[in-house]
Symmetry: C2
Subunit: 180 residues, 2 copies
Amino acid sequence: MDVTPEWVVDGLVAKVRLGLDAEALRMAASELIARHPLIHDSTKQLSLQIRKGSDDPWYESCFRDADIAPETEYDMLNPELEDTYFKEVFAAFPFPVFRARLMALTSRHCYSVHHDETPRFHVAIETSKHAPFVFVDRNEVFRVPADGDGYWLDTRQEHTAMNGASDLRIHLVVGLDQWA
Amino acid sequence: MDVTPEWVVDGLVAKVRLGLDAEALRMAASELIARHPLIHDSTKQLSLQIRKGSDDPWYESCFRDADIAPETEYDMLNPELEDTYFKEVFAAFPFPVFRARLMALTSRHCYSVHHDETPRFHVAIETSKHAPFVFVDRNEVFRVPADGDGYWLDTRQEHTAMNGASDLRIHLVVGLDQWA
């Protein structure tokens, strides 16, 4: 790995410079969602990576870990994204990623407090100061800025994310084995 | 006032010992909600104090500040509560209170980030470690324990509360002029 993560919150959040065009990413996400709507009601999702043999590529990875294939199997970019800005986004990741999804949180909703099996890597697409992560055991509040860079979060620790703003919060979220 | 508040988070949260019976309060709330259901969908409410001449005593104070009478006018206990444990609860408050409500937050919901005109005083009835306040500018996470005591919170600062657990979170919330 040729990047040096920069700790933002010790042991919990590290920034990785990706140098993406935040506005291009926002437009690409908007166009994609118009073609393939996010699934679920308040914690909305769309799969960007697929696995071999999937018959529901846009949504198959959008269910609970226990109800899908092992998440490392979702490791191929959906071919329909080859000609979009997402191709550049995935090329910018300095490590292999899997189960990439757009994850959106509607106004006045939060996730159940939970922990993931692996850390997650987030690129914020649409967000606000009122849509932070809350690491409940650490009592840490952290906002991922929509700055075109990526943020590794140790989501193996108990956490949630909330949206106390009126607009949709949209993140690109990927799984990764680095720093696990 | 004959109580000494004990700071829990400097300038933000103070505990006031009320010595209530947390289980009796829980039962009283449960019985009351069975008779008079909470209003609204995800951020549910029920008025406990009324104002003179109200024709909708259980719900009139459950709307936005701009849509109700000045909140200090809701200063009389609903007469139907005279023979319930709520009578003792209100007698235990060592200062005048107004616009008392039961406020419930359903699973995986949060309030819009906002600030109130006055501080609020909370007695937690049903809660969990996954249902904290988040003071977004201060980056403070605070859980009101359901311990039969009361917690003054400087809700004039930007905040929200979230429920990342599966059970309903229910607080008794009152307005007060003390320490304003």
